[in-house]
Amino acid sequence: MSRRPAAIRCSVAAAMFGLAAAALVLAGCSASSTRFATPGESVDHEEENELRFATRIREEERREDDRPVSAEETGRRLSKRSATSTRYENTTPAGLNRDRLLLDVVDYLGVPYVYGGNTKKGIDCSGFTAQVYQSAVQKKLPRSAREQYAFGTPVNRTRLQFGDLVFFNTTGRVPSHVGIYIEDELFAHASVTRGVTFSSLESTYYRKRFVGARRVVGAPAE
């Protein structure tokens, strides 16, 4: 067994983490039907917009990312709960197998954001939610965030449960970004700048842009 690294290394690591956390965040995933571009259409224009958009957000985010979330820490905490606590039932009230879905979320952690992407090489927000639902619950979701918004049952912000889809308006179009609610105000999503990660609904950025939630598996929400 090895020794815990010396304290000095810990503080360097902590400082580096602080820098990384301060550096920024953000997601904006402009999902619209143009992603299903027919061969005649060009998606380049859309991607160009996306890039410019991401740059703008980056600056805004630097000011507004007031609730940094460490994916590493979050994953550690979640897995600890699933292994040791009975408080967190493995099956949610909505009938989702929590561990199964978490495993799929974790599988995508760190996958870079690629607009229109649908694989572990690169994925966008709605591609991420669709892939996770497909493999964890064999549920086929529509491909765009807007269509996913129209797909499930509305859920009140205060009654969010593990697995619910949470939607955001990040581009002026409604809704343009989607993630999967985990617990304690955390959600997993494919962020433009950080790739697949966890973020907090309580951060100023996401709180301002939150537009609603949908439950796609299980009984009607209310």
């Binding site: 067994m1 090895s2 020794r3 292994a83």
Partner: protein
Amino acid sequence: MSVPGEWSGHLQNNPEVVVAILPIYTLGQSVLRKKARPVKGVDERIRQLAQDMLETMHKANGVGLAANQVGVLQRILVVDITGTEGVDHFDPLVMINPEVMDQEGKVAMEEGCLSLPELRDEVVRAERIKVRYRDIHFEQQTLEVQGMLSRVIQHELDHLNGVLFIDRLGPVRRRMLRGRLNKIEKGDIEVTYDVAPIQEPVAHTA
């Protein structure tokens, strides 16, 4: 903290004994996944092995080392927790054919492993154990331990059974570590101690 009558240090103080630093086997090498065989008696080779293991552990700044980690499938582990919290002095411990006789409580504690460089995670294990083993003179001993010593012995005893601490993590956590584990398996690691090249080891036999 001191455990009496274990490793007398007679080899350490003997100038005729040449000590070797052995390369440490890392994840991906099959010897770490094999069960070590009981030692039938202590001869010069076993004494030399124990001595080399202690030296290897010290050089790698470890607190424990099992024979599997130096490519030997013999049930031997060494421990030295000097310098861990609250332990100013500890006589290095060599345990041959160790067995847990009794255990009590459950506690989570962060662990690392010389065979899994740069990886640390919280593992739940028994809090206190009663362990029976043979010392370097092949005398039967029993020891009741808790805290760090209990932790290290359990970790090393796992090695002798082909078990690594990552096997004791939850499925979600293990999945999160997969990328880093793959890197270690490929030999993509930075360590300050000698590691065995990734290939099939030749296991020593007694």
